[in-house]
């Protein structure tokens, strides 16, 4: 019985994919009609990788130090380095990575002191302040042409532009999708993949499981309700996008103000605390990828790196879950390759970045670590056929909105502080559930802090 339902799900996906396949995705605030990854690609597949400039790395021994914030990508860079060495035998590689927080801390000390790696992989937004100080090189002309020449989703290009220039070569993006356990869906009598927020909200209570004492043992939807850093606010943001609102909104004159304290924000916050109060989710159980892998939740939202992780950590789950795109839109974070001004051999660094940009390297990325290639002129059809669980990431619905991180340096502080407040607010769910007035007051207090941070930076405007 469960397998026939799974078949139905697959058929549904296939039809969805066909319907969506050629549709455009659009980016806010600059709407476009760029083809999605699964769109027509024939013209580009034939395009040759740029021929390596023979003398970019010279013949003297060089060691390139590649820095990134995601240890799961280390094998990708290491393998790429080994292949690059075949073309440039004088070049050796070291790869440095640590968790994102340690990495940012390290960049913050290393870039200003000219001690960072030869290629640094991080978001343009994070690196903006270092660009301000002239610590990172702008793209060479050929790479700039390659980045802006249509091979990338315009939202990716927009995310990477800063101070009227392009600085990094987009390598991978962190799209979000809903992971849902198809067995649990079937058992709960739900046959269709969640296609709207209403679906997700309606499904969640049916999927939660409680023990005899009424304690939640499996959540119907694993919400992000704790943790350090900005992750909690980021998940709130993604869900807020589904009702067409965002965390901070840009005004016509380029200034910003908090938007999450509007009615949509209140409603969303209410959903969180109601879930916690009604036992759809619980602070007492595992969350996120770990919960999904240990069958402690039926669904949750996360980036695509979870897919290869499931293969490693929970192989029995493979084939029993699917992914589907969030109904309306997603945030877009782009990790790009930058070359610091202080790099010893900038020409060779850029040469390696050119190499990383090549199609086979981009494919090796998604195959190894599951992060999504930043280029959208790749032919991922056969990859998707082999790896149908990537559907939610590679097949986005028509009119899908991608929202980029506001290009202001203080956004991380805003997001991190909001995350701290949200964690405290969720913990107070017993008191807040069913009291929209209290929630509104709370959100207004936080929004006032957000606006104050913007004011301090000179970026506030109603």
């Amino acid at each position: 019985m469960s397998s026939t339902n799974r078949m139905k799900g697959l058929v549904l996906f296939a039809s969805l994919a066909i319907a969506v396949g050629a549709c455009g995705s659009s980016a806010t605030p600059a709407p476009t009609a760029a083809p999605t990854a699964a769109g027509p690609t024939a013209a580009v597949t034939a395009a040759p990788t740029p021929a390596p400039t023979a003398d970019a790395c010279g013949t003297a021994p060089i060691t390139l130090n590649i820095w990134g914030g995601y240890p799961e990508n280390d094998p990708v860079w290491t393998t790429a380095g080994a292949n690059f060495k075949k073309l440039h035998p004088n070049v050796d590689f070291t790869v440095f990575s640590t968790d994102l927080r340690g990495f940012e801390q390290k960049l913050t000390t290393a870039l200003p002191s000219n001690t960072a790696g030869d290629v640094v992989i991080r978001t343009t937004n994070f690196l903006a302040r270092f660009i301000d100080q002239g610590l990172l090189l702008p793209l060479p002309d050929d790479l700039k042409a390659a980045v802006t020449g249509g091979g990338y989703n315009p939202a990716v290009v927009q995310d990477g532009s800063y101070a009227n220039n392009q600085w990094g070569v987009p390598l991978f993006t962190g799209g979000t999708a809903v992971y849902y356990n198809t067995d649990m869906y079937t058992a709960a009598g739900i046959t269709a993949a969640p296609a709207s927020m209403a679906d997700l909200i309606a499904n969640a209570p049916k999927l939660a499981v409680k023990d005899a004492s009424g304690a939640v043992t499996r959540s119907g939807w694993s919400m992000r309700i704790s943790g350090q850093g900005s992750g909690v606010a980021e998940k709130f943001w993604i869900l807020l996008l589904q009702s067409g609102k965002t965390l901070i909104k840009q005004t016509a004159d380029g200034k910003w103000h908090a938007e999450y304290n509007g009615p949509e924000g209140v409603k969303l916050f209410q959903m969180y605390v109601d879930f916690l109060k009604n036992g759809v989710d619980s602070p007492n159980i595992d969350h996120d990828a770990k919960a999904f892998e240990t069958l402690a939740t039926a669904q949750f939202l996360r980036e695509s790196w979870v897919i290869p992780e499931i293969v490693t950590n929970a192989p029995t789950l493979v084939g029993h879950y699917s992914t589907v795109a969030p109904p309306v839109g997603d945030i877009l974070t782009v990790e790009s390759a930058f070359v610091p001004t202080a790099a010893a051999n900038p020409a060779c660094s850029w040469e390696f970045v050119r190499f990383l940009r090549a199609q086979d390297q981009q494919l090796s990325l998604v195959k190894t670590s599951g992060w999504l290639p930043a280029r959208n002129d790749l032919d991922l059809t056969s990859f998707l056929t082999d790896n149908p669980t990537f559907t939610g990431f590679l097949k986005r619905p028509a009119g899908f909105q991608l929202t980029v991180t506001p290009p202001i340096a203080e956004f991380d502080e805003i997001e991190t502080k909001l995350a701290t407040h949200l964690v405290d607010g969720y913990a107070d769910f017993k008191n807040l559930s069913g009291s929209p007035d209290k929630i509104q007051t709370l959100l207004n207090t936080w929004a006032a802090e957000t606006d104050q941070i913007l004011k301090d930076a000179g970026h506030f405007g109603q």
Binding site: F130, D132, T217, S226, G229, K417, T420, A427
Partner: protein, 306 residues
């Protein structure tokens, strides 16, 4: 005994030899010391009066603004409160337990058995913090954690050790007491063993019970050592960081409720929000707290010795 005249004649030469010796050996060490400790510390204090980013050093002189703004900063206030509660509770529990253990192990249970017990209680002191915190995180797990399973045996309901704000603080306290108690015990044990046995024997002859002996003899004589242990524990508790960082950092699974403590907040301001000057002034507050504790210790010690 030499005549005053002879002494006056010989002193300059000897002094000169000694000065040369001191200069030869102490100068390189002090140079290293000044370069590696004093210079950067002075620099950090300087930063606290500025709007200072690593990439924009000394952007703007702010005077005491950073210090004033911190007092209004919710995160700082919460961090200060959490750290203080943590320090007080951890110190009280770990010193109390250590006193009990040391009292029993110094007089009552001795020999091989005593040695074995000493070993068991001391073991956590030496294991590095990161691996054991990883282990504790599993023990605290709500569903499959050993702690909740053990509580279940006694009919106590499962506790959300890592997710509830109060319980998360309790979890950090438990872990830290576990790590600290052996150290305190060993120090107190040495202090107790140094108390001449004759005092106890005399008291026993007078018919004093074990408890009376402990209160009237051990405690007063042990006061300086106890105070030392209290201060050392409080200071290290104010610097708590690794435990909270590791307990709340689980990207893929069950991130715990972050117990915001001072050093964490310093890190966040300095390295995440790039406010180096602001973070430096926060660090100076931490320094002042620790200095106050040290002065208290010195005062009390001097008082108790005179």
């Amino acid at each position: 005994m030499r005549s005053p005249l002879a002494r006056a004649r010989s002193v300059p030469h000897r002094t000169w030899v000694r000065y040369r010796f001191v200069a030869l050996f102490l100068t390189p060490i002090m140079a290293l010391y000044i370069y590696l400790r004093i210079l950067p510390t002075g620099q950090a204090f300087l930063m606290s009066f500025y709007k200072w980013e690593l990439i924009k050093p000394a952007e703007k002189f702010l005077g005491l603004d950073n210090y004033a703004n911190l007092l209004k900063d919710d995160n700082f206030r919460q961090a200060f409160l959490n750290t203080t509660i943590f320090a007080i509770v951890t110190t009280i529990i770990s010193v109390f337990l250590a006193l009990m253990l040391a009292a029993v192990l110094s007089r009552y249970v001795r020999g091989r058995l005593g040695g074995l017990l000493e070993l068991l209680y001391f073991a956590p002191v030496l294991v590095p913090m990161v691996p054991v915190t990883l282990g504790w995180r599993e023990i605290f797990n709500y569903n499959h954690g050993v702690l909740n399973a053990a509580l279940g045996v006694f009919g106590i309901a499962k506790q959300p050790w890592l997710s509830d704000p109060t319980m998360a603080l309790a979890a950090v306290v438990i872990l830290s007491v576990w790590k600290q108690v052996g150290y305190n015990m060993i120090i107190l044990l040495v202090g107790m063993r140094a108390i001449p046995i004759i005092y106890h024997e005399a008291a026993a002859v007078d018919g004093a019970s074990a408890w009376q002996q402990f209160r009237k003899i051990t405690m007063p004589l042990l006061a300086p050592v106890t105070l030392f242990v209290v201060v050392i524990t409080t200071i290290s508790a104010y610097n708590v960081f690794t435990q909270v960082y590791v307990l709340a950092s689980d990207v893929q699974g069950a991130p715990g409720k972050l117990v915001r403590v001072l050093v964490y907040d310093i890190f966040e301001n300095g390295f995440r929000f790039f406010k180096m000057g602001y973070a430096a002034s926060e660090a100076v507050y931490l320094f002042l707290i620790i200095m106050a504790l040290t002065i208290i210790q010195f005062r009390f010690l001097r008082g108790s010795q005179s």
